[in-house]
Symmetry: C2
């Protein structure tokens, strides 16, 4: 079955904002085996919304029209879709009462035009909006199914996951036997990683393996069709284990919603360990990334941004002789930073990050050169040299450095 | 003149990556007055590339086909576009020699299929790729102009800005008399800000004012058409000054490529001032954001992440009595953090950030409650209470808090 996503919005057509809704929906649909060969975007002009909807219905069985459901005159999507389908609009009276109720505190009299947000396609069904006012719509016509969804990403995501996906699975039976699992990797480029995996995946011929390059990780999705749940679990578990054994340096977890920082915080919490850091080129990014995870306070008390050489000495006791002798970007400095912060905070683990963010070189070392130090109480301190790609700029070097340090901690804890 | 952007790529169609190229190009085009009512996305299937190109040519005068110019068999865009136009491909021999030269270190023999990247549309012109191997193409046919561009965002942006835009301005005279300027604001929601601006903008009737909501700022673009450069400058300067006077609390600069962190680092550098911070809920994000700016080392030596209460005392000397008496999230704690880090690092300016990132409340204060402290040598310490929107999650609260602290520093320096 072919689907098409039609996005409505002058702000997107003009390039003022990125179309993240289309990506989100396409990803959700491809996870349940619906193909989306076409996406179209147009502005708020009603005649173009009608044309886009008709054109989509001519080549696709399932059309999603997204955005343009606000209460004002330039929000014309629902009416234009009705026009394209040869139907009209109808009001959900209960919902209109609710809208008036919820807007009461803000208006002396709720504007009559807000009734637009209680309208849907006559002959079809309305879709509840879990977090906003505008209803969505579901319409089954002779040319195919048309679904109308709201534009604000928070409302869009909530309606897609809570209302649309269950309905699609019910209607098309798309959920009948598709199971998928996402594996996460960091520290290896995509093509050697996929070449390696190709040496074992043929042993699981039912499982489809696809890779996704993300800014700070490679995701590999395993998908299996037309089997029962027990078989799916057995197959996916088996392949996941084999991959984890094959890629111990790069694999860090499985799941739809995991991050390396989350995995590290969980591991630290399980082991009752505390971590700290002294950061130079990342200047707080490593610690800030850890603390993006709710509950980070159970494993992290605080740390240091030791940007200038004298602060490395003053804050965490890196001897100035180490810096003079070996340079700021050196194994010795990274080691002294890691050990120094660990002692200073009296933590179980101390991480030191020093390197060249760029754009200029430093101490004759090119941008992208980074030393990491990892001090764990009772163990010899490790150091690691990275040569990170610098052509995407300073911020990218710093992000890769922080992620590499998380990976080093993960490897040590595992 | 109507333009259409056709994006080619299975990864985009499947929702694996966001289509940032279309946004970038649409924004560039709308800045020079080219309208883009349509965008289409399809996968790598050649018949769909042909269909999308033909359909676009039927309704638009200027068609951009983006992506699918790699060296492998699934990169078929250039051939499909040739097919849609009824032409064929031709090789730029010099460029093919260069490709072989540059790939030599990686291959015993450069694969013959790489010649695809030296091909362009017969009867048209090739476009140089400033940072990659694949050529672009420019073709003027009877139905309109078709431009073919590479997919990787770094190559795409370089070819658009360095090759395409100058050529468009030359060909269509689009650069004839359009001048624009972007103003940046933080700390006020879009609609009251725009309501305010509407009280003065009618005095500059030639200037078109549009607003763009970004995650951590509101951008307002001023555009003026069909005037000479001197008039444009005079008008834009006049309106910018009036806006800066009207919105002293929210306006922080003008320019296409500026950020609040960059403005703050520049101001500190001009005044020869150094800054430091003690961060709780942001856990290093404020310092990391400052250091995203090249040259931050001239104004920043280092600072502290004082996440746990006892580290606030140990690292920057916040008396435990202050925390017990007033709470971690209080004016008094923010003040003591700001003053403490400023003294500890012997810096001119110290910033303290403490608050509730969420999702849970803390000390009976809801997520989004944040106190900032700002200690400047020789001045009384300021504190500021923020009630940030928490419904977009913990990370958004932390980002807003770091940006608010930058704004507080900017206001004080200005």
């Amino acid at each position: 079955m072919d689907a098409e996503i039609v996005t409505i919005g002058t702000e997107i057509a003009l390039g003022q904002i990125t179309n993240t809704n289309a990506q989100f929906l396409a990803d959700q649909l491809s996870r349940v085996g619906i193909e989306i060969p076409w996406q179209t975007t147009t502005d708020d002009e009603p005649s173009r919304i009608v044309a886009a909807t008709r054109h989509a219905l001519g080549r696709s069985d399932l059309v999603f029209v997204c955005g343009g459901l606000g209460p004002t005159a330039d929000d014309t999507t629902m009416a234009a879709v009705a026009n394209a389908l040869g139907t009209s609009l109808t009001v959900n009276d209960d919902h209109w009462q609710q809208i008036k109720q919820s807007l009461k505190p803000r208006f002396a009299e709720v504007p009559a035009e807000n009734v637009r947000q209680a309208m849907y396609l006559k002959g079809g069904q309305w879709l509840p909006n879990p977090v906003g006012l505008a209803l969505g719509a579901w319409y089954e016509g002779k040319q195919g199914v048309v679904v109308v969804l709201p534009g604000p990403p928070r409302e869009f995501k909530a309606m897609v996951t809570q209302e649309l996906m269950p309905r699609l699975q019910q209607h098309f039976g798309t959920g009948k036997a598709i199971f998928s699992r996402t594996l996460h990797f960091f520290g290896r480029p995509e093509s050697p990683l996929m070449d390696d995996l190709a040496t074992i995946t043929p042993k699981w011929p039912q499982v489809v393996v696809t890779s996704y390059v993300q800014p700070l990780e490679i995701q590999v999705r395993l998908t299996i069709h037309n089997v029962d749940q027990a078989t799916a679990k057995q197959q996916l578990d088996g392949l996941q284990e084999a991959i984890a054994r094959l890629e111990p340096e790069a694999f860090f977890g499985a799941g739809d919603d995991i991050s390396l920082a989350g995995v590290v915080v969980d591991l630290l919490e399980q082991r009752h360990l505390h971590i700290t850091a002294a950061e130079s080129l990342t200047a707080g990014m490593f610690q800030s990334t850890l603390c993006s995870i709710p509950g980070a306070s159970t494993v992290f008390d605080g740390g240091f941004v030791t940007y200038a050489a004298e602060q490395k000495e003053k804050m965490v006791g890196v001897p100035s002789s180490v810096v003079t002798q070996h340079g700021v970007v050196s194994a010795e400095t990274a080691q002294a930073m890691a050990e120094g912060c660990q002692k200073q905070v009296d933590s179980d683990i101390g991480v030191g990050l020093t390197g060249v963010a760029g754009p200029e070189a430093l101490e004759d070392q090119p941008a992208g050169t980074v030393w990491l130090g990892l001090a764990i109480k009772g163990w010899p301190t490790q150091t690691k040299l990275l040569h990170l790609q610098a052509h995407n700029g300073r911020q990218s070097v710093r992000e890769q450095a922080a992620q590499s340090a998380l990976m080093m901690v993960y490897q040590a804890l595992k």
